[in-house]
């Protein structure tokens, strides 16, 4: 279990306890956090679950796998701290993670 905080573009905060093994994307979708679309359902095929991860956390998370950066090329306003939330798996180690949701997904 980990507490994940989702911060929308309008600066609304949603802090949610997400089960280990789910992805950060699933935590948002199952709890109706606005701003994460996840059109492809977690297949790393659409870049509509794009989030920004604060620098300190960004470096702590397991590195991006092959293909994630290719997909991020297509995200709306990608930055150096961009991630696809469907590729971040929740575990005790990410307790306290904060992610910022971009103004749009597309």
């Amino acid at each position: 279990m980990a507490k994940i905080t989702y911060i929308t573009h309008e600066n609304e905060k949603y802090t949610i306890e997400v089960q280990n093994g789910l992805t950060v994307m699933e935590g948002a979708i199952q709890n109706d956090v606005p701003g994460i679309d996840a059109d492809c359902g977690g297949g790393m095929a659409c870049a509509t679950c794009h989030v920004y991860v604060k620098e300190d956390w960004f470096n702590k998370l397991p590195k991006k796998e092959n293909g994630e950066d290719d997909m991020l090329d297509m995200a709306f306003e990608p930055k150096t701290n961009s991630r696809l939330s469907c590729q971040i798996i929740v575990s005790d180690e990410v307790d306290g993670l904060e992610v910022n949701i971009p103004s749009k997904q597309a």
């Binding site: 059109d39 492809c40 090329d73 306003e77 990608p78």
Partner: protein, 338 residues
């Protein structure tokens, strides 16, 4: 005006198998798709990725699945309308009047939406200023490359489309190629070719930059690009091309008076009919309790929706359930029997 028993929107796996089911039970159908090819997400998003959960097919790629579905449709004569988007669906007496982006019209008692997550549209530049130049000097695809001759063209993107056009247009244009990182996802040979052209001064390469602003009174004059470290460069540009792939948008479907739930359409599980009589939704775009977004679910939903279409297309006939193994009617339609 095209008259048909059923119009299918979407030529992905679900749309294709739904067409098979319609033709098998003796109904006509036509298919409209916004993409320029058959196959939907399977072809656009993952042609090379293996799929492992199609019943009785242990492993196949998106492209193989599409090709098999197309060959399963061979006995039937089905009209495809590709590169067309359905814009309007309006009630006309007992029928639906459907209009597409190319001005085609259809009159049909049955409309089956097999639209996946909507139609594929190009992903656009983030800055609002870009919009006013769209389709004048800023494009997301190339229709006529001759307009660029002798001009300065700024191309954005890191995939094959961006690289191929940068290489092609560098023959008689001044090219700026801009990408948000150092790595390119295009084919290695294409990346190498592009790097050669950068060395020989045919292409100006800017990596770790993204579009920040577009400038110019009536027509585009220049663009601002912004580096990861916030430094801004101004590039004189006559034309801008952006290649960021495609995104799925629900588009005009949202305006047809259907019960929507986020990006999906509510249906019943008997006919897969929406709240509008004669409009059905099948595959990823439909929603009901327990819905699974699997290709196999789409096949089942399409088979049932096809039977529901029979009632409206042949109100004076009775639908009779038959097996392809034994029914001479079905075998005739499949071309297996005289």
């Amino acid at each position: 005006m095209n008259k048909t028993d059923a119009l299918i929107i979407g030529a992905g796996p679900t749309g294709l198998f739904t067409a098979h089911q319609l033709k098998l039970i003796g109904l006509d159908c036509e298919i409209v798709d916004n993409l320029d090819k058959i196959g939907g997400q399977c072809i656009e998003l993952y042609p090379d990725k293996p799929i492992y959960d199609i019943p009785a097919v242990p492993e196949c790629t998106g492209e193989e699945l599409t090709n098999n579905l197309i060959s399963q449709l061979k006995p039937f004569d089905i009209k495809f309308h590709l590169s067309e988007r359905v814009e309007e669906v309006k009630k006309e007496d007992a029928n639906w009047l459907v209009k597409t982006s190319s001005g085609n019209t259809f009159l049909t008692p049955n409309v089956i939406i097999a639209g996946g997550v909507g139609s594929f549209e190009p992903r656009k530049f983030a800055p609002k200023e870009c919009e006013q130049y769209e389709n004048k000097s800023l494009f997301y695809s190339v229709k006529d490359k001759n307009i660029f001759k002798g001009k300065t063209v700024s191309i954005f993107g890191g995939g094959d489309s961006a690289l191929d056009w940068a290489i092609e247009l560098s023959k008689d244009c001044k090219i700026n190629l801009i990408h948000r990182r150092d790595e390119f996802r295009g084919a290695q040979a294409t990346v190498d070719k592009m790097q050669e052209l950068v060395k020989s001064g045919k292409i100006n390469l800017f990596t770790k930059y993204q579009m920040a602003n577009a400038r110019g009174d009536q027509k585009l004059e220049s663009i601002d690009i912004k580096h990861d470290n916030n430094e801004i460069k101004n590039l004189k540009s006559d034309y801008v091309l952006g290649f960021f792939g495609l995104i799925m948008q629900l588009g005009p479907i949202a305006d047809w008076g259907l019960n929507l739930n986020k990006k999906t359409i509510e249906v019943d599980t008997e006919k897969f009919e929406t709240n509008q009589k004669g409009i059905y939704a099948v595959g990823d775009i439909c929603n009901y309790p327990g819905k699974l977004k699997l290709i196999l679910s789409g096949f089942h939903e399409g088979a049932l929706a096809a039977r529901a279409c029979f009632k409206l297309a042949r109100p004076n006939e009775k639908y009779r359930f038959e097996f392809t193994t034994t029914s001479s009617n079905l075998l005739k339609r499949l071309g297996k029997k005289e």
